[in-house]
């Protein structure tokens, strides 16, 4: 394999890994606060259509990404109000958000069907971004660098900041966090909004970077892969980064295996498609066997908080 070909494969992996990395990072923060939002797919679709619409309207992809983040956060607030203020069931509300997001994005996107926007693919000058070898470092959309930055930032936030500590405390034991005097609901609102914004940006990757078109159901179920990824990473940001690239490699090798033939094409394509989910199951089992506190699910995950005192 030539270096250029390896570069090409790495670039392809980065491209497919970034949206699930972004959405996964957002969901990781949400779950660390003790909330399970299954509406990632719906928020991604809302972000995808909003990012595209904003870019098509204002002509600036940075505004497009910001609009996608705002739209994702706004959608997540429906979920937040129902599950946090009204203590509704999180599983059902998340599913409702996915259904709603699919319908809403399809309707809102009607005027933008069949249009394109300039692809938001490059940050660095051509000499670096299009260099046959160095493009492996410099050849990506600004959103890709943003995802890496956010990974570091979230890891730092959770581990090193007081706010991060509070967030984790709220997710691990909401009653005592409440007793100490933290606003459990307030913290969770912020986490949910952050998760929505990240899912919105992840969605905009599809409509602005990967294929700068809008189509109904554009994200084609990747939101669920992002949910699997969070578990696969056992709620740790850097594992999530690694996991996103592993999942991305699986998805990329699937198409490359078809293009290249050879040993990879011996596996049925369905096996490749199922691999992320099976791997996640395996990780869940491994986590529980090791029973290490640092890498297990937040104790309050999915449980509504109603103060006992």
């Amino acid at each position: 394999m030539s270096p250029e070909f390896i570069v090409a494969i790495v670039a392809a992996i980065v491209l497919v890994a970034t949206p699930i990395l972004l959405a996964g990072l957002g969901e990781l923060v949400v779950e660390k606060s003790g909330v399970l939002n299954l509406g990632v797919e719906g928020m991604m679709l809302i972000g995808a259509v909003t990012g595209f619409a904003a870019t098509a309207t204002w002509g600036n992809p940075y505004l497009g990404v910001i609009a996608a983040a705002v739209a994702g956060a706004a959608a997540s607030m429906i979920f937040g109000f129902l599950t946090l203020t009204l203590s509704a069931n999180q599983v059902a509300t998340g599913l409702a958000l996915t259904i709603f997001g699919g319908g809403f994005s399809a309707l809102a996107g009607k005027p933008f069907l069949g249009k394109t926007v300039p692809a938001f693919v490059q940050l660095f000058p051509d000499a670096l971004a299009l260099h046959p070898i160095w493009r492996v470092v410099f050849g990506y959309s600004p959103v890709v660098y943003f995802s890496l930055f956010m990974c570091v930032a979230i890891a730092w936030f959770l581990k090193r900041t007081r706010a991060g500590l509070i967030l984790r405390a709220v997710g691990e034991n909401d009653q005592s966090a409440h007793a100490i005097g933290y606003s459990v609901i307030g913290v969770r609102y912020m986490a949910v909004a952050f998760g929505g914004a990240m899912a919105g940006i992840a969605g905009s990757m599809f409509s602005m970077v990967m294929t700068p078109i809008w189509a109904e159901g554009l994200t084609a179920g990747r939101g669920w892969i992002a949910l699997a990824l969070v578990v696969f990473a056992s709620w740790r940001p850097f594992r999530l980064l690694a996991g996103a690239y592993v999942f991305g490699a699986v998805m990329t090798l699937e198409v490359h295996a078809k293009a290249a033939g050879g040993i990879f094409s011996a596996l049925p394509p369905e096996m490749w498609a199922a691999l992320p989910y099976l791997a996640t199951l395996l990780v869940l089992v491994l986590i529980s066997l090791r029973r290490s506190a640092a890498s297990s699910a937040p104790a309050c995950l999915g449980r509504p908080f109603i103060p006992t005192a």
Binding site: F5, V16, G114, T116, T211, E216, V255, A259, P269
Partner: protein, 366 residues
Amino acid sequence: MTMPTRRTILKGGVALAAMPALSGLAFGQEKLKVGFAYLAVPGDYGWTYAHDVGANDLAAALGDKVEVTKVENVGEAGPNVERVLRELAQQGNKLIFATTFGHMEAAVKVSAEFPDVIFEHCTGFMTGPNLGTYNARFYEGRAVLGTIAGHMSKKGVAGYIASFPIPEVVMGMNAFLIAARQVNPNFVLKAAYISTWFDPAKEAAQAQAFIDQGVDFLTQHTDSPAPVELCERLGIPCFGQASDMAAFGPEQCLTSIVDNWGPHYIKTAEAVLAGTWTPQQPWDGLKDGGLIMTPYNKNVPADVAAAADVVKNGQIDGSYHVFTGPLELTNPADASLNISIADGVVPDDGVLLGMQAYAAGVEVIA
């Protein structure tokens, strides 16, 4: 024209027998209500879009005489399809088009329940007294694309993003490769099945993989314009599928095969209005306008355009058929599907519609 049936045993009865003129129809008095069941949404810019254009052509051409109703996202198979076809019939539509292969069983079943409603099913093979089918010879367009690629590809390797290994798709690959080899005998077509008709991100990823593997031409048998858009950015020549995709690739989309259902829809509605409709199985090609090629892009050199026109016009006047023998098609997994066509023989339509074997030079992966 009646096509040979594709199955020896047909369910639902293939009674092409004469049937008294369908008495329930109003002869020119009332509006003819025409219903369409769509696989997906017109926004796919592919298969459903093309049917929607056809439906709009019908509404525009016959004006007051027809009233067109469309149902989107009916899906590929199952009870949903039946329910939508029945709903359209109950709403008073007297002519109903079921626009994808997966609607076949439902169309057979519902058409039997509504004998005074005329059904037509796209790309299927089962018919009935009030059920016809229609299809277009897309392979003719593929032969034109293959000719262009054969002339213009420097490496002689093209990528073909395919959906499922069905005859329709296999036929397209073979036509492309055979035409390309008539220009460049060493031409190779790499084909990959991605098990979906519409997933823009996956289609683009497969396109990227082909390009990374070194193909310098790309063509697709999936519906979204994502591969064309990617090719435009990367400077890889490509072709549009189902609708004119030039807007997504002004430089690189050399021409598009446009599914042109409008003429058939208009002709059928007129026949129903006149009371002359009978169940038929038309398979229209370039000659009858079942498909049309968009004008060649400015990047197609004049001599290549001329060569492509020879193939195109040859198929219109009947002097050229891409599957003319000698031809050996093989299926690596099942030799019973192999097809051998003798020198100078043009295979009949039944052979084409059952094609599940590949021409030498088509490299299929997965």
